[in-house]
Symmetry: C2
Subunit: 417 residues, 2 copies
């Protein structure tokens, strides 16, 4: 019979961690979380969780980029561990679940093993990784990318926030510049439970998602240069309107997603739009704006990016503007391990939890570990269309419990392989 | 034979006044002018010009809204004066010509009359008006609108800048809260020379424009409310993208101007666009943006506004957003006096100055005085496609001289009517 966690204890821990860095939104009155990486709030959160790790009898170590690992021994001292982790840093306007569920859920899983005197062959390592959000130092998945070798340690240390404060100096300041070297840690498997951050599971009335991978991502930053001009005195034929140029690109992306030419799951977003001089009676002279492209299919992503770049050229001609763009991020489709996905499915079936396969729309630490060991993820549905990075972010105690109970069964299976 | 001014003296005065409030643009290295209404720089500019008025033998008075009048007597003490004026306040990123040409040109005209011992039947009054630009206290043509009765004095006094500082307190502080009451001053005619602030005259190789009137203006401020959402995890069908909604409105305005359905001279601009949260990977939840509509035909303006408002409703349905809008400004088409236009044309012909009729795309003090007395304007072309509200704003000494010489001949004619 499947082991089950104490869901009330888990939910209580999520609330307690969520109180660190909490703030009240001036407009809505809702209480949110602001625990940016390597701030005092992040330090306080790290201390709280590390204390819980120690209370659970785990041996805690910190690596050179501030990732925290908590180890529970297995019966085979030489076996590679199974790692279960996520992150506890947040965006500036967060809820209490993103990242924290994966870390505190892993802790709850280990507490359950301890209380039921269940041993595993392999060691279990719970981990949380530095600056997954990337909101402060500009690079998401920073800690896991360093730990798994994609980003060199020195490059990560040198990254600075808007005030010019470096990652390394902040790690030192908050007391989380650890001594464990980067490199030796190679898990047998990596498992991460995370909130979906989207509406799909809830809209299908599902309790859980077995994550098949992460869609390909491509970001562009655009600088459109037209010519600012008086809105009253400048005939339409004399204009080089950078705002109209950005609007054309925005609507072209919408058309591309609707066309089906790039598969049914292309997503495209112009999230940032900043015209200058941004005045009611002046034609925008320049616009900086952003493009976020997603697709589960690498070939379709390649085509959609090429076609959009060709459209930039069309807009340059039509509007008499110049468009400078740079690729600010690009990651290919990530595929998670098939056999772990099957184990997750069987575990959920055993617990009577309704589930389906789902592709992740967002990036996660698991994509970094997938380059080093077999990896997989479990998604937990969210209320309010899965709103996230927002004080309204909410998964119920039942939803969290379904995710972590499934993770616990999967963890036991992986740790005894 | 037509009288002509000392164009070098005029151009020197423009440079000297332009040095007050000058700044160097950090990006371009160009020297611009920042002389916002009722600031210390505006006070210094007012003192300089008022001193010049007195040197020219004019009697200076200041009214209760800080408009400055400089009177040269005529031979008929009972005749209503001819007024020639404009403004010397500036936008924060101005050149040296906007407004100042009309004021210093009037001064140069009077200096010329003085030097040539030319008397006129009617008195001549040179005037500059408070906060024509409206950049500081939010209402353009403030001084002339008060002087001509459109805006009550108390309402104008109570207007505040971003720091909550009122018009009245600033008038007092800079010493320009005058004693002349509002109301009694009813000129025989009003004449204003101003830079075109657009490309038309120059593109037609003309030396001067006889202004037929001011096109109708309508401003909307929009608040588009959608739903912010994760750009990676939110399927296109779940989105309420306020940015896409604003882009649709922007391109619809473009289509409307190109359609010809609202006449050949409809102009439409979305100058300000501000999404929140304005992040690369978040679907914009709200956008505040602006609409600036112009048309020389009042009926066409009415139709274009109605059709655009109907389109807001379409966008609400298509995108699942709500669009709140308010009319931030609305002025009907202004028609300037026909007989003064003819006098201007004849004066320019006498001087061999190439001219055509032109409609003003921007608002000017003359539109306020046109409600009180017969009024007209002369436009001077500008280099660089008539760029204005910009340090590059430039009309040559010859262009300025053509405008003020034509004005002088017209002024003499009006003052002897």
């Amino acid at each position: 019979m499947a082991q089950t966690i104490d869901s009330k204890r888990l939910y209580g821990a999520l609330q307690e961690l969520g109180d660190i860095g909490s703030y009240t939104d001036a407009t809505t009155g809702l209480v949110g979380v602001n625990r940016l990486a390597l701030t005092d709030s992040d330090r306080d959160g790290r201390r709280l969780v590390t204390g819980w790790f120690k209370e659970a009898g785990l041996s805690v170590s910190i690596d050179a980029i501030g990732n925290v690992y908590a180890r529970r021994d297995g019966t085979d001292a030489d076996a590679a561990p199974v790692m279960m982790g996520s992150h506890i840093d947040s965006v500036p306007t967060a809820g209490k679940f993103d990242g924290c569920l994966g870390v505190l859920g892993a802790l709850e899983a280990v507490r359950t093993l301890n209380e039921k005197n269940i041993t595993t062959k392999r060691p279990i390592v719970i981990a949380f990784f530095t600056d997954e959000e990337g909101c402060r130092f500009g690079t998401d998945m920073l800690g896991s990318a360093v730990a798994t070798g994609r980003i060199p340690l020195d490059e990560a240390y040198a990254k600075c926030d808007r005030d010019g404060i470096s990652v390394k100096s902040e790690l030192e300041r908050i007391g989380f510049l650890g001594e464990e070297p980067i490199g030796p840690l190679k898990p047998h498997a990596y498992l991460e439970c995370h909130i979906e951050q989207g509406p799909l599971l809830k809209s299908k009335d599902l309790d859980l998602g077995v994550v098949t991978g992460v869609q390909a991502i491509c970001w562009h930053e655009l600088l459109i240069k037209g010519r600012s001009a008086h809105a009253g005195t400048t005939p339409m034929s004399f204009r080089k309107d950078a705002g109209v140029a950005s609007a054309k690109i925005n609507l072209r992306m919408r058309e591309m997603t609707a066309s089906g030419d790039y598969g049914p799951d292309m997503r495209a977003t112009m999230g940032a739009i900043r015209p200058t001089p941004d005045m009611i009676n002046v034609v925008p002279g320049t616009v900086t704006c952003t493009v976020d492209l997603r697709n589960p299919d690498d070939d379709a992503m390649k085509r959609q990016e090429e076609d959009l770049i060709a459209f930039y050229k069309e807009v340059e001609k039509e509007e008499g503007v110049s468009i400078e763009w740079k690729r600010a991020a690009q990651t290919p489709r990530i595929r998670f391990n098939e056999s772990i996905q099957e184990t997750i499915s069987r575990s959920a079936d055993d617990l009577g939890i309704k589930h389906e396969r789902i592709l992740s729309g967002a990036g996660h630490d698991a994509q970094e570990w997938s380059h080093l060991c077999k990896s997989a993820m479990i998604f937990v549905p969210g209320e309010y269309d899965g709103i996230s990075h927002n004080p309204r972010e909410l998964s119920t105690e039942k939803q969290c419990a379904d995710g972590i109970n499934t993770a616990l069964t999967t963890l036991i299976a992986l740790a005894n392989e």
